[in-house]
């Protein structure tokens, strides 16, 4: 039996190889090594929730009707009897209330979408804090960044499809923001909506964007992202035997086929469990879109919430005297919309996208980096990361201020005043505290390397002194703590050469040097063997 299977397999393999020369690929891929660490699986969560999105999405398209034609509801739901609604909304109700398992699929789809975006952000944070974006991976950081933006587009276009009151008000906000763009805003709005808001064409347009354009782009970029991962080989955490010139790990076949393949089923299973138990986006509560009603708790899904928070945070009148909407030569410039909804996200995302270059200017390092940083060994980067997260979380909290106010019996006005100050103060504070903490941890590492671990054993010396016995670190333990780059601030050539001629590019170098000082002026160098020797002598 076994022999027959083997011959069959060999025959098939031979047939395929003679037509594709796949043998070479298999030889290359099958035993490719991947380092083992839980944090390397965050990106997989995103990938797998995307696969779940595709699977459940195909099911939903079998029932969803992307049309804004008005029909009268005659289905089983008592609270919608005889209500006029678009076909999009009616078909959503139909698949939720009349198709067994249809609501489950909707909920699987929506929960996966929330998970998809959440996993992307978490994965990006891991890459950021460990410095995995450094050379040669800057391009892949950009690919991943674009995927993140596309995930927002995919999520928002899908959220709006059921044509309910909640998402309709979200679209109206988008329309208002679009219209505020100077000069062309009104035309862009007409272009998107096919006329005045809401028009009769938006849902079909969003549908095409949601099921064809955006997922198509995501698929292409995911392929590119993974190709680059294979090309670069995975990064690894510092440890004995792990260098910038090798990769230590377990082979793709069979270990990662089983682990990563199995992990897909785990992700799918957990999404199914959550979707079975928790309601998500109950559009039957919101009702079909009508421009007049609105409900308390009108918020977008979490990944857009930060923009909503910024819109809430921005005052229309600065200090109650300076208007944030200007009328210049008969034209209206709405800074109260442009700043929070377009300029702020633009700067925020722009900084995130360009971060690898900003840091490489500061280090001036041109080598390939394949061993990751422990976040504490890059205090400024870690501080910047925490500051960005703080900034983002404040906006998300401001975006939920009515919910917070209601839950904790606070005044939403007070919360807004607090966050208006907090948005400037707290990220700076977070940066400062984080950097201090990192430096503190680095000092503790030095202490450990120099004096060893506390054992809790107290011994009494002959001359009566009590002392705790410290156990020196093993070679492997020590290596993790001392094997990081000790980067000093950039040295640049002087402005004038010896003949007194001003050097080209001096300003740029000067800028890089300033940046570099911010990063590396205050730093804790790793222990050298010399220092360790000295510390040992001191003990005896």
């Amino acid at each position: 039996m076994g022999a027959r299977v083997n011959t069959a397999a060999a025959g098939t393999a031979n047939w395929v190889d003679e037509r594709t020369s796949i043998g070479g690929f298999v030889k290359f891929f099958a035993r490719k090594l991947f380092p083992d660490h839980w944090s390397f699986m965050l990106g997989e969560i995103a990938l797998y929730s995307f696969v779940v999105l595709l699977l459940s999405g195909v099911f939903l398209t079998a029932f969803f009707v992307p049309s804004m034609d008005i029909v009268t509801y005659e289905g089983p739901l008592a609270t919608m009897q005889g209500v006029e609604m678009s076909k999009a909304f009616e078909s959503t109700l139909h698949m939720s209330f009349e198709v067994p398992g249809g609501l489950l699929m909707r909920q699987i789809h929506h929960w996966s979408a929330l998970l998809f975006t959440a996993a992307i952000v978490t994965h990006m944070a891991r890459v950021f804090f460990t410095g995995a974006f450094r050379k040669p991976r800057e391009l892949n950081w950009l690919v991943g960044f674009t995927l993140m933006i596309l995930s927002l587009a995919a999520g928002f276009s899908g959220y709006s499809l059921p044509d309910d009151v909640l998402s309709g008000n979200g679209l109206r906000i988008i329309e208002g923001v679009t219209r505020s763009i100077p000069i062309v805003g009104e035309y862009i709005s007409y272009w998107i909506f096919g006329g005045e808001f809401p028009g009769e064409i938006l849902i079909p347009r969003l549908f095409t964007m949601h099921i064809l354009l955006v997922p198509g782009l995501i698929l292409v970029l995911v392929a590119l992202h993974l190709f680059l991962v294979f090309l670069h080989k995975h990064t690894q955490y510092p440890g004995g035997g792990r260098t910038d010139k090798n990769v230590v790990g377990l082979p793709l076949f069979p270990v990662y086929t089983a682990k990563a393949g199995g992990f897909f089923f785990v992700v799918f299973g957990i999404i199914a469990l959550v979707a079975a138990i928790f309601t998500i986006n109950p559009v039957w509560n919101y009702g079909p879109y009508d421009p007049s009603p609105v409900s308390a708790g009108t918020q977008p899904d979490w990944y857009i919430l930060f923009v909503d928070g910024a819109l809430r945070l921005m005052p229309g009148w600065l200090f109650d005297v300076i208007p944030m909407e200007w009328e210049i030569w008969g034209y209206t410039l709405s800074l109260n919309l442009l700043i929070p909804a377009l300029i702020m996200p633009g700067l925020f995302f722009g900084f995130v996208a360009l971060y690898p270059w900003i840091e490489s200017w500061a280090t001036g390092d041109r080598g390939e980096k394949h061993v990751l940083d422990r976040p504490r060994n890059a205090p400024v980067r870690t501080g910047i990361g925490v500051a960005l997260i703080t900034f983002y979380v404040i906006l998300v909290m401001e975006g939920s201020n009515d919910i917070i106010a209601n839950l904790f019996h606070l005044s939403l006005n007070d919360l807004t005043y607090f966050f208006r100050i907090g948005i400037f103060v707290l990220p700076v504070l977070a940066f400062w505290i984080t950097r201090r903490l990192c430096i503190g941890l680095q000092r503790k590492d030095r202490e450990l390397v120099l004096h060893g671990k506390e054992t809790g054993r107290i011994v009494r010396h002959e001359h009566g002194e009590y002392q705790e016995v410290h156990e020196p670190l093993t070679d492997h333990e020590r290596w993790v703590l001392v094997s990081y780059d000790d980067i000093s601030p950039l040295e640049i050539e002087p402005e004038y050469n010896d003949r007194g001629v001003r050097r080209k590019g001096y300003r740029w170098d000067r800028f890089k040097q300033r940046l570099s000082r911010i990063y590396f002026e205050k730093r804790i160098s790793p222990v050298t063997p010399e220092e360790l020797e000295a510390a040992k002598h001191e003990h005896h």
Partner: protein, 358 residues
């Protein structure tokens, strides 16, 4: 212990010998590697997990076949939950099984693979550059036989060609591009204010102090085209305050009636319906971004991101005692846009002869 105290002043120039990489740590075998019993046990566990998956599939399909979904909310919930838990078991069983297999029974002794610098070899680069040069020479893009006219027109044609597709297509997408529609609504002189959503007219006597009526224009529900677009602009909130509390802005003395005022319900921030009326404070709150307007003082902004007051709809009472509009709004409703002010000056309908001379 003073050696740790001056790490920052440490100069790393004349680096002393650095620590040496101790190499890969010793590989400690797992229980299943050395104990055949543990190996058997792990095997049984993996098989059991795969068994869970099989049960899950049966549960999912069985629930779909056997459970009856009626109109009752309970039954819908139950069917979805049963199928969902079936899918959960079917998936998680395979997942945990495969991973447990990999962790306990497959290789866990790490291997090492060398990396190669990504940069191509010098030879490869030189070859690439030569090939490109040759190609450019052959084509006349550069080199001895340069053909700048061809290159110029070719590039220009290629930049222009997409417009052949985009211009007509994008041109279609904005319908009539008549953005002056932003400037006015369907309100007309003499049009009755009616209840949202049923469209019945409202008498002034219906509106008692502290009341809030959500209003649409008379005839909106009968519109055949652009009903929803018109509703999106025309919705109004009709309120009655104690006339003593009402501060009437200059020039609008005859826009209200005995404490009854009508304001656009569309926020001047980004266009959400501003619908939360607190009758004690006379504040209107937008639930989207919390702009707060003071109805007793011309709906001016008292909090939040909006800058302008809500536009007021001038109202009057007709012979039968119903509330009617005196005209359209005197400025565009909703969020600001670039040419808002030019729509303000001639925003009123041309067919309005009276009541529009603002």
């Amino acid at each position: 212990m003073s050696t740790t105290e001056n790490p920052t002043s440490h100069e790393s120039d004349n680096t002393p010998e650095s620590f040496e990489d101790p190499g890969l740590p010793y590989h400690r075998p797992r229980r299943a590697d050395v104990d055949p019993k543990a190996e058997k046990k792990a095997e049984r566990q993996v098989a059991a997990l795969f068994g869970v998956s099989i049960v899950g599939t049966v549960v999912a399909i069985g629930s779909y076949m056997a459970l009856d979904m009626t109109d009752e909310i309970d039954s819908i919930r139950f069917v979805n939950m049963a199928i969902g838990i079936g899918i959960f078991l079917a998936m998680i069983g395979i997942g945990f099984g495969a991973i447990h297999w990999a962790k306990t029974l497959m290789r866990d002794h790490e291997m090492v693979e060398e990396r190669h610098e990504l940069r191509s070899s010098e030879e490869g680069r030189a070859g690439a550059i030569q090939n490109l040069k040759d190609g450019a020479e052959d084509s006349g893009i550069s080199g001895v036989k340069r053909r700048p006219v061809l290159v110029g027109t070719g590039v220009f044609a290629m930049l222009l060609a997409p417009l052949a597709i985009l211009w007509p297509q994008i041109g279609n997408m904005g319908a009539d591009w008549n953005t002056s529609n932003f400037g006015h609504t369907m309100w007309r002189k003499g049009m009755r204010l009616t209840r949202d959503p049923d469209g019945t007219p409202i008498k002034a006597s219906d509106v008692t102090i502290g009341s809030a009526f959500h209003v649409i224009p008379e005839g909106l529900n009968e519109l055949e085209h652009h009903k929803i677009e018109e509703k999106a602009k025309a919705v109004v909130l009709l309120l009655r305050l104690d006339p003593r509390d009402l501060k009437i802005p200059e020039g609008r003395e005859d826009w209200s009636f005995d404490g009854i005022v009508a304001y656009s319900k569309i926020c001047t921030h980004v266009g959400c319906p501003v619908a939360l009326y607190e009758q004690q404070t006379h504040h209107l709150l937008c639930p989207c971004h919390q702009s707060t307007f003071d109805v007793s003082d011309g709906a001016k902004v008292v909090f939040g991101p909006a800058k302008r007051p809500l536009p007021q709809l001038p109202i009057a009472i007709d012979d039968e005692g119903y509330i009617i509009a005196q005209s359209d709004f005197h400025e565009p409703i909703g969020p600001s846009y670039w040419t808002r002010l030019s729509d303000t000056s001639d925003g009123l309908h041309a067919d309005e002869t009276e009541g529009s001379s603002h």
